[in-house]
Amino acid sequence: MTTPNISWFADIGLSDRPSVGGKGGSLGELTNAGIEVPPGFVVRTEAFERFIQKLDKEEPLRAPVEALDPDDLDKVGAVTKAIRERIENEPMPADVDDAIQSAYKDLCGDDANAPVAVRSSATTEDADDASFAGLQDTYLWVLGAEETMKMVRSCWASLYSVESVCYRRRQNFPESGVAMGVVVQKMVDARTAGVMFTRSPLTGDRSVITIEGAWGLGSSVVSGEVTPDRWVVGKLTGEITTRDISDKHIRQSPKPGGGIEDVELPEAERTAPCLSDEELLQLKDVARKTEKHYGKPQDIEWAVEKETGKILLLQSRPETVWSAKDAAPVAAAQDNPMKHVMNIFGGKRS
């Protein structure tokens, strides 16, 4: 259930961005559109606000930041370091602490060490601009409620990084408006994961879905450490028109004590396709549904859960590269439809 401090995905959507951030809102939106994502909740901006206000009362926090000169890097460094330490160490308001702890328990049930991902979720439109939003922190394979609390604090603290603060000061952005949501969601132990685009990154073609994937967690694909397998699937036809199977030398897997590690793969696995045709078509369907829901081409991160084989979306963002290009229309209607045939019969020379 949603409290002032946390919201479950099912209770929020894109319009809640101001209080749960873009990432959280998007995961809520997907959940409500019937697209499966790893279950989770968002630590709302109110929780951050409560904590900061508590800290501010104990010892002024926002006013000293607002007074900083972005060109005085020594001072910025010293002030922000102190603030980050306070955020990481000072006790939280009891209700915030309780809300997060109990939400973790509701999410993970009996398993006190269940792995989760903790991700910052920025509230502003230019959220993709890391210099403002703080480092877009994502902590994978976080084990247990204590560790989760620690990572939530790390996300909050990232708003007081030197770059973030300098950026805000240059923009003269009021400190009272600084806020951040934090997503806590169950970690997917992925057999295969990757990204997909509902518009060809090569040609901008909107009728195909390009899917890239590799063994294990999707971080290896996103970071570029592994050359993924690549497929092109007809959005409407389901035809698989391209199959580039690459040599995937490693798999990123959860490390026993938390975090992730690279695992070398045996030869046969390296060059085997990491998705079946059936899975490709399922991914295509999920991609179409997501694109339809948002009404524009999407850039999607996905995973296939090892245990269940279920396809889960980790993230979906609007595609930006081709959408920004103003392509001339391929053709326009003619007063006389017959005139189109002159494209063929008129000749290139004339």
Partner: protein
């Protein structure tokens, strides 16, 4: 351009094969290469004429190019091109375009073109209905031509009626009418063809620009009809299989038994057998008038001439019917899927401006498509069968009158030589002397049989003469798929023979692996077993029934709109067509993998 390729061999540098000189010289003069042809670009029309030409069969090239050229040059006045020229050397047909390059002339022709072609597009349905009436009339006229035969005495009733013309005269008249009908049929064939392909290409090009990664087959699916004549023969075989199951006759078709024996055994079994044979008759006329090739060669016989192919498909269909499978093509579902594709791609366009153009183009493409799909049944199949069978009757007459030993040998003579033979027969009948051409014809036929054999074993240059800067002839691009880029590939020589991959057009998507069955003629079709991959030169509507057995299809010749491609899509089988070399490079029985979406065949 310094790196401009040197070009292809000059026509004058091509030597006539040893031992085939007389056969080469026997083709009419207007099809022979001459020195002035060296300055022009020619390419081998392996798509329509993949085998060396029997002398009589050159009539197909004559009639077709005469009609195609008239349509382009004089009737619809295509702005940038006149007709197609053709030559024959070593039995191979080379053709070349006649481009219009003078801008003023293009402009003049554009004006004419719009007055003519646009009228056709606007009144397409009416003109096409009229076309079908014309074609049916032409067909019935051909069916009514009398069998060429000579009585010992003129029938008494002719004499008493004062007819005043004896039977031998009608040999010549019927022959002329037969040829006239064939030439006329090719005019009908081209009446709409270029305009139809052009309207389709407009839509095709638009889709390729708007959706750079769309496959040819998807575009084809958006305009294809489902009730086209091309599907009818196979539908009829399914209907007959149903009837056989209903009457409990399906066992009669099993095993290695000739079509004649099947007919005889059905005849003997009384009521049920007769009932089925009655159904067979309704299927045969007209739908079994499909032949086992493109209809360009006299030996592309029809199902009606040889029932073994449709009969061989009946056991397979019968087994499926008895297993409760529905063989009917789900028309409503197919139509719905097509509409979903059309609407789906429309939605994906970025602007209303583009959607407006898309609507106009697809409307035009769908309007012309029934002709593009349907004309072949009437022209290349039905009419061509009637034509070659009529000539075959003259072959029988020649045998009877001692000119040749086998009716089929008549096709080794040119159409002019056949006329000489006819006059020889007419004269001999009139004066009681033996015919005079027997010795001469037998020698010529022996020579030409040998020539065909020699030519069949020779490699042919894909093109001759200088490389053109560009190919801007819509007919050549549309009908033969030849572009400037193709020529570069040809100039590089044949693909590496050691490569494990053979590439062609991606005709129908999916992947299949299995043993290759290299089928060089329809007679071998019975060798296909469940799960085999069919590897052939070219398929046509008569092959449809074998698609129920195979797991994929590969052909040497054809584009994404070819018969093999259309039927493979219907059956959901992977297919790669237009490989150029599959039957030459794949061994019978070899395991291969067919990737129909990529257009690649891998030798395993």
């Amino acid at each position: 351009m310094s790196d401009k390729p040197a070009g292809f061999p000059k026509p004058s540098s091509i030597e006539v094969a040893k031992g085939a000189e007389a056969a080469q010289a026997a083709y009419p003069y207007y099809m022979q290469f001459a020195p002035e042809d060296d300055d022009r670009f020619w390419f081998y029309n392996s798509m329509h004429f993949p085998e060396p030409m029997h002398h009589f069969d050159m009539v197909t090239a004559e009639a077709a190019y005469c009609a195609l050229g008239s349509s382009n040059t004089r009737v619809h006045c295509l702005p940038t091109t006149l007709g197609i020229d053709y030559r024959v050397i070593n039995g191979r047909v080379y053709i070349g375009g006649n481009a219009v390059t003078d801008p003023a002339e293009i402009e003049r022709r554009t004006e004419e073109f719009q007055k003519r072609a646009f009228y056709y597009y606007e009144h397409w349905e009416r003109l096409y209905d009229q076309w079908k009436d014309k074609m049916r009339k032409l067909i019935s006229d051909a069916q009514e031509l009398p069998k060429p035969e000579l009585p010992e005495f003129e029938p008494l009733e002719n004499v008493h009626a004062g007819k005043g013309v004896a039977s031998n005269h009608y040999l010549l008249e019927t022959y002329h009418k037969t040829l006239e009908g064939y030439f006329r049929m090719w005019h009908h064939h081209f009446e709409f063809l270029l305009l139809g392909y052009g309207a389709y290409m407009v839509f095709f090009d638009f889709c390729k620009k708007a959706f750079p990664e769309i496959t040819d087959q998807t575009i084809a699916r958006m305009v294809a009809g489902f009730e086209a004549e091309i599907f009818k023969p196979d539908d009829e075989v399914k209907r007959l299989a149903h009837k056989a199951v209903e009457l409990g006759l399906e066992g009669k078709f099993a095993g290695d038994i000739s079509a004649d024996d099947v007919l005889a055994s059905l005849e003997q079994m009384g009521e049920a057998g007769r009932e089925w044979l009655k159904e067979l008759e309704t299927s045969r006329n007209p739908w079994f008038n499909v032949n086992v090739g493109d209809g360009f060669y006299h030996y592309h016989r029809s199902w009606n001439d040889d029932l073994s192919l449709p009969f061989s498909a009946i056991p397979g269909y019968a087994a499926k019917i008895k297993a409760g499978e529905n063989l009917d093509r789900p028309m409503e579902k197919l139509k719905e899927e097509r509409q979903e594709l059309i609407d789906g791609y429309r939605d994906l366009l970025s602007t209303d401006e583009e959607r407006g153009a898309y609507d106009q183009m697809i409307e035009l493409a769908c309007r012309v498509f029934p002709y593009v799909e349907g004309h072949k049944f009437y022209c290349e199949h039905w009419y061509t069968n009637l034509f070659f069978n009529k000539i075959r009757e003259y072959g029988g007459l020649f045998v009877e009158h001692g000119l040749i030993d086998d009716a089929e040998e008549i096709f080794h003579l040119t159409r002019y030589e056949v006329e000489q033979g006819i006059v020889d027969v007419m004269t001999s009948w009139s004066n009681g002397s033996p015919t005079r051409g027997g010795k001469r014809f037998r020698a010529m036929i022996a020579e030409r049989k040998k020539a065909i054999e020699i030519w069949a074993g020779m490699d042919s240059a894909p093109a001759l003469g200088p490389v053109p800067d560009m190919i801007d002839d819509p007919a050549i691009v549309m009908l033969w798929g030849i572009t400037r880029e193709n020529l570069d590939v040809w100039l590089d020589g044949p693909a590496d023979a050691n490569s494990k991959e053979i590439r062609g057009f991606a005709a129908s998507s999916g992947i299949a692996e299995g043993p290759a069955r290299v089928i060089k003629s329809v007679q071998e079709i019975n060798r296909l077993e469940e799960g085999d991959i069919l590897v052939c030169q070219v398929t046509n509507p008569t092959w449809a029934p074998v698609f129920q057995k195979i797991s994929a299809a590969v052909s040497d010749i054809g584009g994404s709109m070819s018969h093999a491609a259309i039927v493979a899509r219907e059956y959901g089988l992977p297919a790669v067509v237009g490989t150029g070399q599959a039957t030459a490079r794949i061994q019978d029985g070899q395991r291969i993998r067919v990737d129909g979406a990529r257009g690649v065949v891998t030798l395993l």
